[in-house]
Every structure is written in C-alpha cells, then in structure tokens.
C-alpha cells in the first residue's frame, strides 16, 4: 500500500523548508552579522592573552577559564548574579501579574491605570537609575527621610553589602514591571470570556478561577515572560553601573558587570571573553532546561 508518492512528498517538504528559510532569512542574516560573528570572535579571544587594546598576543588555551574557576571574585560575581536573578525574576512576575489582573477588570478609566502600570517601560535604565539613586540617597533620599520621620535610623541602601543587592533588585523590579505587566495584560485579554462566564455560573470564587483558568490559560505568556525575565536578569548592566558599580565589596558585582569591568576598565579582554562565553553557556542551558521541563506544562490552545 503506497503511503504517498515519495516524489510529491519530497517536493512538498522541500518547498516548505525553502519558504520557511525565506521567512527566516532576514533575521538569520542579521543575527549572523551582528551576533554570531561577534560571539565567535569572543570565543576565539577567550583562548588568548591580549594586550590592552584587545589584540591577541598569545594562545593560552583554557587558561582564562581555569583562572576564573579559582578566582574568588568570579565566584562572588556568580553568587551576586544568582542572588540578583532570584530576587528580581519571581518578584517582578508576581507583582506584574497582580497588576495585570487588577488592570484587566472592565472598569471606567482603566486605560489610565494601564498606562500608569506600564509607565516604567517608557523609562530608560539611565533615567530610572538616576531617580532611584535619589530615592536611595542616604542623606536626602525619600526612604531614609521616611525612616527618620518614624524615628528609625537610616539605612545605607546601596552602601551596606547587606542591603545593596536587595536595593538594586528592588529598583530593577520597578523598572521591569512595566514591560512584564504589558505582556501579561495582553495574555489575559486573549483568554476567551465565555470560560469565565461559565465559571461564574458555577459559582467558583475569584481565586479558584485565577488558579484553575487564568493561570493555565496564561501559561504560554507566563512561560514567555519567565524566560525573558531570566535572560534579562542575567544580562542586567545599566542599573548596576549607575547605582553601585558592583560594590560594596562586590556584593552587586553581577557577571555582566564583571565582564564589562574586565573588558573596558581592566583591559583584560581574554578573561572578559571567557566570562562572556561562560555566561552564554549558562543562560543557554537554563533556557533549554526551562523549555524541556516547563513548556510541557504550558497549555497552548
């Protein structure tokens, strides 16, 4: 019994592949030029000792890598990175989800609130950091003013290693909420209203609907937001540079900032490249894991 005439099938497949690639080609070309090529270059450099200008001088093999693994600072920055990711990602998603749920209510003037909640998306990291620097300022910042007003003693938000990572994370959460909120709101609006109508009639509580309908139906969006937030958190740079410069005592010296310092302040391009490669691999692995473990639980319509 013929399943299909092979010729036809092959042709169909080929044309599918061709048109698939056609649709992808603009992206692939640009990625090739502006991401893959630099990445390969970075990998190449990670095996070399370079001069301060970044010209490779001497092949050192995995020398940079082995140095890193024995370096205290490197482990410190890994610790800071992990801490930062754990502090920012879940918090951002949770708060943004809460706001998205609130803003998804059909009420008068809701558009104003939606804009308010997404406002931080319109602010550059630089601008936001400037504002937060003010807020955290131990002398004139509003936080300490408030603490003093209630009789508590001020906190060195960005200077105390105990608080610094937390403070930077909090500012980051604020900066990222707008965007996360917007994406989640979009996801919420795509859920079929009749599902809620049906649940309303069944008399299920708001929370049950949230758990049993909203969250599962939102899971593709949540999954997306999770991955994106994770990647972004791993690559956070601006607010660290502006708020703490990796200090105090390396408490906020996340890996990307360490890379930056190595490459552009210390002119240690080889080591910076090695760290960049490690970061790349780590994030790739994590994302791959998420796809393997989580996407199965995601419900696509």
């Amino acid at each position: 019994m013929t399943i299909a005439l092979p010729r036809e099938k092959v042709r169909a497949r080929l044309s599918d592949a061709a048109s698939g690639l056609l649709y992808l080609s603009p992206s692939i070309i640009l990625f090739g030029v502006f991401l893959v090529y630099p990445l390969l270059r970075t990998m190449y450099l990670s095996f070399f000792r370079t001069d301060t200008q970044g010209t490779p001088l001497e092949f050192v093999g995995i020398g940079h890598y082995s140095n890193l693994f024995t370096s205290v600072a490197f482990w410190q920055s890994i610790q800071a990175t992990v801490g930062f990711v754990l502090l920012t990602v879940p918090l951002t998603i949770l708060i943004a989800l809460g706001l998205a749920l609130l803003a998804n209510e059909k009420l008068k003037g809701i558009g104003i609130f939606r804009t308010a909640f997404s406002a931080t998306m319109g602010m550059s990291v630089a601008a936001s950091s400037v504002i937060w620097m003010f807020i955290y300022n131990p002398s004139i910042g509003i936080f300490n003013r408030f603490l003093e007003a209630i009789g508590a003693s001020g906190v060195q938000w960005l200077l105390d290693p105990q608080y610094a990572l937390l403070s930077v994370s909090l500012a980051t959460v604020w900066m990222n909420i707008g965007f996360t909120f917007l994406i989640l709101l979009g996801g919420l609006q795509n859920i079929d209203r009749t599902l809620y109508e049906s649940a309303d009639i069944a008399g299920t509580s708001y929370w049950t609907q949230l758990r049993a309908i909203t969250i599962p139906m939102l899971s593709p969006t949540l999954f997306f937001v999770g991955i994106i937030s994770l990647i972004n958190a791993f690559q956070t740079f601006g607010q660290i540079d502006l708020l703490t410069k990796g200090g105090p005592t390396n408490a906020t010296n996340v890996i990307v900032y360490a890379i930056y310092k190595d490459a552009f302040i210390n002119y240690n391009v080889g080591s910076a490249s090695a760290q960049a490669v490690l970061l790349f691999i780590a994030v790739l692995l994590l994302t791959w894991l998420q796809f393997k473990l989580v996407e199965r639980k995601v419900h696509y319509q």
Partner: protein
Amino acid sequence: GSEEAAPVAATTEDGKTEVVFWHAMSGDLETALNTQVDAFNASQDDYEVKPVFQGTYEEALTKFNAVAGSEDAPAIMQTFEVGTKYMIDSNKITPVQEFIDKENFDTSVWEENILSYYQVDGKQYSMPFNSSTPVLIYNKDAFKEAGLDPEKAPRTYDELKEAAKKLTTDDQTGFTMLNYGWFFEQLVAAQGGLYVDNDNGRSGNPTKAVFDGEEGQNAFNLIKEMYDEETFLNVGQNWDDMHAAFQSGKVAMYLDSSAGIRTVADNADFEIGASYLPVPNEADRQGVVIGGASLWMGDGIAEETKEGAWEFMKYVSSTETQAQWHVDTGYFAINPDAYNEPIVEEMWVTYPQLKVTVDQLSETKPSPATQGALISTFPQSRLSVANAIESLYQGVSAEDALKRAAEETTTTLVQ
C-alpha cells in the same frame, strides 16, 4: 586602511580644516568647553574644531581604541590621567613634544606640577587640559556650632579626628571621603609615598605596587579608626551622593575635587571653607598629584589636522583662555599667569576657596610621588583600592585590606 596613501584632512564647507575633538565633558563643563572652542574657531580662519561628547572617559577610551589609527580617529582626544600610560602604549598617538620641539615652544609658562604628570622620560606626551586636586571642604556654620574655629581647618590627621569628633552629632557626621582611588592616591602622595615601584613607574615599567607602605597604612588607618569611632560617614562611590551628604548637613567635612567647589558653594545654604589635604602629624607635606585629564593628539591623521590640533592646544593654554577656564569650571589654569587676570581675581573674591586649591598646588614639591603613578592598569588598581576601602567598613583590618589591594595591583602589573 592602506598605509601608503597619505591621509587627507577633512575640511568644512568654507575650506577650514576640520579638527575633531573627543571629550568627556558633560553638564556645565560641556558648556564651558564649547565656549572655548567657539572662541578658538572665531579667532582664526584655518581650522574648525568640532567638539564631540563621547560619554565617560572609559566609554570614550573604548571607542578611541576601536578607531585609533583609522580615519574616524579624532585629532584631539581627551583622556583622564589614569589612561596616560594606556594612551602611550597604544602607539596611536602623536606626543605633543614633537610640536614643542618643532616650534621650540617655551613650556615654562605652564605649571610644572601639572605638566610633569604627562611627561615620561622628559618627553611631553599630552597637553594637560582640565586638572584638579583634592581639597578639604568644610561647613563653617557647623564648625561654629561645635565650638571650632571656622577659619582654622584641620591640617593633620589628629586635628581632623579631633574636629570630626566634635562635629559628630546625632544627625551629623564629622568627616567623609568618597570611596574613589584618586583620594587615596592623593593621601599617599601628600606624604611623599609612592604608588608603584620604579619611581612610580617613571623610571621604568613598574613591577610592584608599593602603596601598602607606611603612607598607605596611615591613610587606611585614618579611615578605619574614624569609621569605627563613627566620625566617618560612608558615602559610597558616587560623587553626587557625597555632595548631597555635605549639602544636606549630614556631614561637616569632606574631601572634594577643586573642580567641584563652585557648585557646592553655590548650592549650600551655609558658609563653606576649603583647606589643604590633611597629612599625618609627623609627615612632611609634599603636596598633591595633579588629577583630571589631558588632550592627546591622534596619529595616522593628516599633518594639517595635527597642526590644527596643536594650534588649538596652544590656544587653550593661553593666559586669557585659561583664566576663563578656571573661572568657568574651577579647573586649574595650566598657565599660572592666568591667575593674575582680573576675572580670576574677581572670582576669588566670591569663591575664596578656589584660591586655596591653587595655593596647595603651587606649594607642591615635584617628585615622583607627586608626579603621580604611571601604570597602564590604573583603572583596575583603583577598583581594587575601592574594594579594599569598602572591606574596611565591613570590619576587615586596615592592614589586610590594603595588602590585598596592593597584591591585586601587582598581579595586574606583571600580567
């Protein structure tokens, strides 16, 4: 690009040679800079200087590194003092000495203390431009309140500690210093201490950091002790945070750059005083190292363009220009005659603090210590020092902290 063809100078529409000038001056400083550039362009018909802001010194340097030697390279590049060695090593610059020699230019009109930073083996590499030194700034009102003489600022570590103790109250701390390597370097140099061996790297490539000697210890001990006594406030690494602390009355004395004095004086609603950098009681005051930045001339560019750059450099070092520059920004005049200009004198009446900074500089005794260290990995070393100071606040002993910073610096030196 091909090495053979001689680079052609870019020209403006009206036939002037274009001289691109990359700088890192932002805020009020950029305004002041642009004023000078405009004046220069108006003063002659051959050249047109085009100032372009290139971000922070680090950012500008990164970009310079990428284009150095190509036709996109600037004719004039402003670089901070710690990038000096990096620029020299890059081999993509033209030492200004070439032009000094060519014209037999008399450099004696320039302040030697400033020039010396950018001299290696007697060769002038770059043209000092915006230079500043650290001074002690204090709140005269707070002094009065604490029963101190507002006209007599502490000059030694002991006096400083003493005053700080008196000034410290519930919501005011006696003293602070920005956690920035530059201040530490200054405290060391003021005692005549070296930062690295081989005469601060001026008589040969440095091999070892030596700032953890007695002088460095003194400085660290000072910070540590005062911090432990709670007469020292940690303001972190941000200039604005430090200014805010002082201006809001959180701190009564601090070390600041001479360039910042004007703005502080303008925005404070109390009287402020300025004084020399304190030294340990027993130490012999050596003075300060010149900070700030200098102008470098690019290489691989057309000869005409270089000429233009040189003309501009000469122009900005002239007496009148320097006087204006000093008045506008608080940076030093590299031409001491400038201080005799009427506008400067007027200025000093309003801002007597500025004069203090100039005096301090002119009293400085030239030596490898006050000339400043010459190392290519200076920025990294500064990070190590900043880390060390931070660890002081965390209870690490002054000795250990300093040692670690020195070791780290040594490592980068040998690499």
